[in-house]
């Protein structure tokens, strides 16, 4: 019994590198088979457009876009070497995801046994949410990578107590802050854990933390000053509605089951009372919450709570993708929870979760109804085949012009509603219903047909569509993906 108990993990430890390699191959296959082939999305088009400029301009554009520049600069250099093809740009994000897989395992090994670590890594690899952003031309996979590195060094500070851990923590804190503003939330979680569990740290840790944060402030201040110098942001980002608790639970659901249709998502989140049963089952003798688990709980919950509170009190910033860096912590908590169950029940629960997540990953990847899919490529292909030089294409919201521009090579004029001069300094013009007739007249003048491509509803999409429906004859309608519809209106009857 004892021999078996010790042999089993040793075998697993030896096999672990091969299992991790296998998981990396699996994620690569998933990426190539499904995610790399998708149409360019709005945010990706924006990244490609921003990084097509020189470094100075990139800093300006990113600063105005309420982001930090590390990812864009890396992508810029990447494109210099590999070109600006969508798939190649996506490979950069995937590269960081791939690096995160062994890192996830290493962090797991630092905190838990080999079984829990492998299970958590497997969750990470088949995570529908993670796979989505691992293949998107945005900074999110880099953010996860940076946070995992930072967490690895932070945990090392109180477990290994080495100087190297402090150096690593400092470097990743600085790089992380230049990856995403929300990175500070993980530092906040680190600090919170430190004050909650000071006894785990060496006595002189507090001055060291202050030192790191002082250095961070010094090195990040130039960027803050630069953003302030640029003035108000370009308002090029979608406006967000204040979140409700529904958004919070949707975020947790997305972290586990990815982006599903409203119906499926409703089913998944409505099952929440079962989480109480899962918690009940974890009530086991001497199953104390280990400091590592407390840390992951804090790293998962605190950023979500702070982002939610800021969204209510200051301005809406709560978006599941901004909080993607809390996903690994959530997986560690889930893996720990299931690991507390009796052996047979743990096996069943782990298998059920893996199967469920793999299933939802499959649905997310292949279903056309996946709500985050933005099929601009197909919409633009259709336009290219059907528009005439006398037609005009109008996209709304204005910022959705980026992915359209990326694909569009047709003969008709391309414009936005509200009308926006992309090269002019300043934010995207706001929508005013009173200005709609005038703007539509300007757009329609001299054209035969108007193709209206509506996506990313900013609160006025229905007004725009109704205006066209009541003033012009609609001759064509097609929905290319959830929230992306194309309408054709006849402007003139004299030709």
């Amino acid at each position: 019994m004892t021999l078996a108990a010790t042999t089993q993990p040793t075998k697993l430890v030896k096999a672990a590198p091969w299992i991790i390699a296998g998981l990396m191959v699996l994620s690569t296959l998933l990426s190539l088979a499904f995610f790399q082939r998708q149409s360019l999305r709005l945010d990706e088009a924006q990244s490609l457009w921003q990084t097509s400029h020189g470094p100075a301009m990139i800093l300006k554009l990113v600063g105005e876009d309420v982001h930090v520049p590390l990812y864009h600069l890396i992508l810029h250099v990447w494109q210099l070497f590999f070109g600006n093809d969508v798939s190649l740009a996506r490979l950069l994000s995937f590269f960081f995801f791939l690096l995160s897989i062994p890192l996830m395992y290493a962090l797991g090994r630092l905190c838990y046994d080999v079984k829990t670590s492998l299970f958590t890594t497997a969750l990470f690899v088949i995570s529908p949410f993670m796979n989505w952003y691992a293949n998107e031309i945005r900074m999110y996979s880099l953010l996860v990578f940076m946070v995992l590195l930072n967490q690895y060094f932070f945990v090392s500070i109180f477990k290994k107590k080495t100087t190297g851990a402090w150096i690593g923590f400092t470097i990743t804190a600085i790089l992380g802050m230049y990856t995403h503003y929300f990175f500070f939330l993980i530092l906040l979680a680190d600090l919170f854990f430190y004050f909650y569990n000071r006894r785990l740290f060496l006595p002189r840790s507090l001055p060291k933390f202050f030192g790191v944060f002082f250095l961070l402030v010094v090195l990040f201040t130039p960027w803050v000053l630069y953003v302030l110098y640029l003035g108000s942001s370009a308002n090029s980002a979608p406006s967000l509605a204040p979140p409700t608790t529904v958004n919070v639970f949707n975020t947790f659901s997305e972290f586990l089951f990815g982006f599903q249709t409203d119906h499926l998502n409703t089913i998944l989140v409505s099952l929440w009372p079962l989480t109480i049963l899962l918690a009940f089952l974890a009530l086991r003798k001497n199953e104390k919450l280990r400091p590592e688990t407390i840390y992951f709980l804090i790293a998962f919950l605190l950023p979500n709570i702070v982002a939610f509170a800021v969204s209510i009190v200051v301005r809406p910033v709560y978006l599941s993708r901004y909080l993607i860096f809390t996903l690994p912590s959530m997986y560690f908590v889930v893996a720990w929870l299931l690991g507390t169950y009796p052996r047979r029940m743990a096996i069943i629960a782990r298998t059920a979760l893996l199967v469920l997540m793999a299933g939802t990953l499959w649905v997310e990847a292949v279903s056309a109804a996946t709500p985050v899919k933005e099929n601009y490529r197909e919409a633009v292909n259709y336009l290219e085949e059907h528009v005439k030089p006398a037609d005009v294409i109008v996209v709304s919201a204005p910022f959705t012009i980026y992915p359209v521009m990326y694909y569009y090579r047709g003969p008709a004029l391309l414009s936005t509603l509200p009308i926006w001069d992309m090269l002019a300094h300043g934010p995207i013009p706001a929508f005013f219903e009173a200005e709609l007739p005038g703007q539509v007249s300007t757009l329609a003048a001299g054209h035969e047909n108007l193709w209206l491509l509506l996506s990313y509803d900013q609160g006025y999409q229905e007004k725009v569509r109704l205006y066209f429906d009541t003033h012009f004859e609609r001759t064509y309608t097609h929905k290319f993906s959830p929230g992306l519809s194309l309408y054709k209106y006849k402007l003139r009857y004299d030709r």
Binding site: T244, T245, V246, V248, F249, N250, H263, T266, I267, V269, S270, L271, W272, P273, L274, T275, I276, L277, A279, F280, L281, A282, L283, R284, K285, N286, E287, K288, L289
Partner: protein, 519 residues
């Protein structure tokens, strides 16, 4: 059973070593109150009857959480004691028809107690209980060199047995052990010093089950006990509200005589006697240390009977006359006794909550109209933090099994409540010290029925209303209840006793009786 090593002894007392940060307790209360406020005052009521029942249930839960926190607010209270204090002691070992080997072990251990002046008496009730082996007890007493007091006049069950012995003994302190509770040699050294306080009425020590690892029932029973004998009793200690548990206790004779001896009017004679002593301003102390080792009920029938007896006995305190209003009790004591009793009222609440999804399946009625996510956002933090506090207060000894057994005995509570309210006569019976065999699934019929009705209800609701968010959420609630009731069904199922080594041999199969008359 092998002797325990010092490490094992320390480990098994761990549940009495915990402290809960006060910030956590305050936060738990705030979350609980917030949850209640939102549920009661901000959500739109659905069906008014269901809403009212839900609110009654929530008021009960809020009361339980607040009282639990107030009880465990300080668990490290230590009453004054004098290690050199000494008074002669009579040890009473109450016996009815227990196996001789069990009695012998207890008597030998009692004789081995290290104390200058102690007389061991076996209180033999076998004769009045018409047990065949009553004479064997006298033989055993003679062989072991202890006094045997065999009662010839029946009445009062265990309490009557003790009261009879009180009349023929005279030491100022009396110790009571059930026949299966084997004391440690230092039992008196650790308990008598508290009697330096002249108003000290009784000292209670935990009722530890040495056979707890035997099977599912013993494990569950012990894990349930740990919450009580850990944080709850330690907290009651501070409030001079210790519950008298009927065994492993030292009582001052004058205090006991002042309240007319052990109460013979209830099947929970200990609980009531403690209450009377408190009302006469006698003090009580709880010693959080395992100083005696007993046996847990080894089968579900025995467990059922034991729980019913405790429930009915406790409820006798408030039905038909509310003894909590007795003069002399402090408000803290009244509250503490009431909160102990209120555990046995929780069965109705458990059943009520469990029926809410069932009602939805068949009628579509709901108690509140709100987004299931909003409910989740206020309910989950409240329930998870409360669970964590329970875990922490018991030093992570509280388990799912204990929770399931506590919630799953709702039918026992309801039955006990009914019998208390209707004043049904219930005969006292000792918890069997041998495992009973047989099929006890009869005792889990309410749980099995719930599972069946829930599944039928889900199917009906799905066919009539489709896969709506309300259907999913209510199904999840029903499955949660099913998950909690399954351990009870499992414990009652016949396979439990297979391949298990029992601490004492099984009894021959007998007919399972669920009548309240002889519990």
């Amino acid at each position: 059973m092998t002797e325990n090593t010092p490490k094992e002894k320390t480990q098994r007392s761990e549940f009495m070593r915990a402290q809960v940060p006060r910030s956590m307790m305050v936060f738990t209360i705030l979350l609980t109150l917030l949850y209640f406020y939102l549920i009661a005052f901000t959500f739109a009521a659905g069906n008014m009857t269901l809403f009212t029942l839900l609110i009654i249930g929530e008021i009960f839960h809020v009361f339980q959480v607040i009282m639990f926190v107030s009880t465990i607010w300080r668990m490290d209270y230590e009453a004054p004691q004098d290690k050199l204090h000494f008074e002669p002691v009579d040890i009473f070992i109450t016996v009815v028809s227990e196996p001789m080997d069990i009695i012998e072990k207890t008597v030998r251990a009692a004789k081995a107690i290290e104390y200058p002046s102690v007389t061991v008496h076996i209180l033999n009730d076998g004769f009045v209980a018409k047990k065949e082996n009553w004479q064997e007890v006298e033989v055993l007493a003679k062989r072991l060199g202890v006094n045997c007091i065999t009662r010839r006049t029946p009445g009062g069950a265990k309490a009557g047995n003790i009261n009879h012995a009180l009349r023929v003994t005279k030491a100022p302190l009396v110790v009571v052990f059930d026949a299966d509770h084997v004391p440690h040699p230092d039992f008196l050294k650790k308990t008598v010093p508290y009697f330096v306080d002249e108003r000290m009425g009784f000292v209670q020590v935990p009722q530890y089950y040495k056979n707890y690892q035997l099977n599912y029932v013993t494990q569950s029973a012990w894990e349930q006990q740990q919450l009580f004998f850990g944080p709850i009793c330690r907290g009651k200690n501070r409030l001079n509200s210790v519950t008298m548990c009927g065994t492993n206790m030292v009582i001052r004779r004058t205090a006991l005589e002042e309240v007319g001896g052990m109460s013979e009017t209830s099947i929970a004679e200990d609980f009531l006697t403690g209450l009377y002593m408190h009302s006469r301003k006698w003090k009580s102390v709880y010693v959080p240390e395992i100083l005696a080792e007993g046996l847990a009920p080894e089968d579900f029938l025995s467990y059922y009977k034991q729980q019913f007896r405790w429930a009915r006995g406790s409820l006798d305190v408030i039905f038909p006359r509310n003894l909590l209003l007795l003069k002399g009790l402090t408000w803290n004591q009244r509250l503490q006794y009431f909160v102990s009793i209120s555990f046995y009222l929780s069965g109705s609440i458990v059943l009520m909550n469990a029926l809410i999804p069932i009602v939805f399946f068949f009628t579509g009625l709901v108690p509140i109209v709100t987004s299931t996510m909003i409910l989740a956002s206020i309910f989950l933090p409240y329930i998870l933090l409360t669970l964590y506090m329970l875990q922490k207060s018991s030093n992570f000894s509280f388990t799912f099994r204990a929770l399931a057994f506590s919630m799953g005995q709702f039918h026992i509570h309801i039955l006990a409540l009914w019998s208390a309210m209707t004043r049904q006569k219930v005969k006292f019976s000792v918890t069997p010290k041998r495992a009973q065999t047989g099929n006890f699934l009869k005792l889990a019929i309410p749980h099995i029925a719930y599972v069946i009705v829930a599944l039928v209800g889900m199917s009906y609701s799905y066919h009539t209303g489709g896969l709506t968010a309300s259907f999913i959420a209510n199904s999840a609630w029903a499955l949660l209840n099913v998950g909690v009731f399954l351990p009870v069904i499992y414990a009652a199922s016949p396979q439990l006793m297979r391949n298990k080594q029992l601490s004492v041999p099984k009894l021959v199969p007998e007919e399972v009786s669920v009548s309240t008359k002889d519990i």
